[in-house]
Assembly symmetry: C2
Homo-oligomer: 113 residues x 2
DNA sequence: CCCATCTACTCTGTGTTGCTGAGTACCAGT
DNA sequence: ACTGGTACTCAGCAACACAGAGTAGATGGG
């Protein structure tokens, strides 16, 4: 898409992945595909796996190795209590930011249009 | 506020500054104060000045040196045509992102509450 | 006169983040 | 044996916001 989107995803992509995991456990390849379905067409595998390793290291998820019938074993990630806390914080911060920016946007469009 | 906010501001803070400049020309010290008023209490001067230098280098703004009665001369920034283009792109990208994430949020909160 | 304080801008170095691009490995169909 | 889809890993990179210090002009108190 744009380099603007790349920069904007910083700090939000991790939250997005946690939000996806909050609906149901999933593995990397699956999450990548789901992100593409959701419209994030530019996000590549390497990025998603990096985030998964990071949130695993931070203890936000539990991991389970599950054999696949179609290839190498899958690492299935489930969000845990600490991860939900992190996700709650994400939604709070996100809410604050969107509110402020929405206010700026109305100020900006006031008089145009 | 939080390190989460710091990461989230990446890619959006420049847009925020451009949006402020779109309402009226301003100088760095003023913008910093305005951001604090708007609720972005963690943003420090160094960050704002860095953004201003960047958008100046990218040609998004015109600069005029205006003497101050209270200190060193001010660098007053005015958004120009290229800057407005950039700002439009920012609002588009931002709109797309907020839409996707809002969808994720409703999916996430569905069944909780 | 000197020093503190407020205004106003600059600069260097740091940590985090997502992207690029390549690599490894398992399995099925031809 | 070879190709292609599945599934994960890793090293190097660029961009960004932050931390913290520095420079400089003006004003007022001791």
């Amino acid at each position: 898409m744009s380099s603007q989107m790349t920069e904007m995803l910083k700090g939000t992509l991790e939250g997005i992945v946690l939000a996806i995991l909050a609906t149901q456990p999933a593995y990397g390849y699956e999450i990548t595909a789901r992100l593409r379905d959701e419209g994030f067409s530019t996000i590549v595998e390497g990025t998603v796996y990096a985030i998964l390793l990071r949130i695993e290291k931070h203890g936000f998820v539990d991991v389970e190795k599950v054999p696949s019938e179609k290839g190498p074993p899958r690492k299935v990630y489930s969000i845990n209590a600490k991860g939900r806390e992190q996700l709650d914080g994400f939604w709070q911060t996100w809410g604050f930011l969107t509110e402020r920016i929405a206010k700026l946007h109305t100020e900006h469009t006031r008089g145009e249009d």
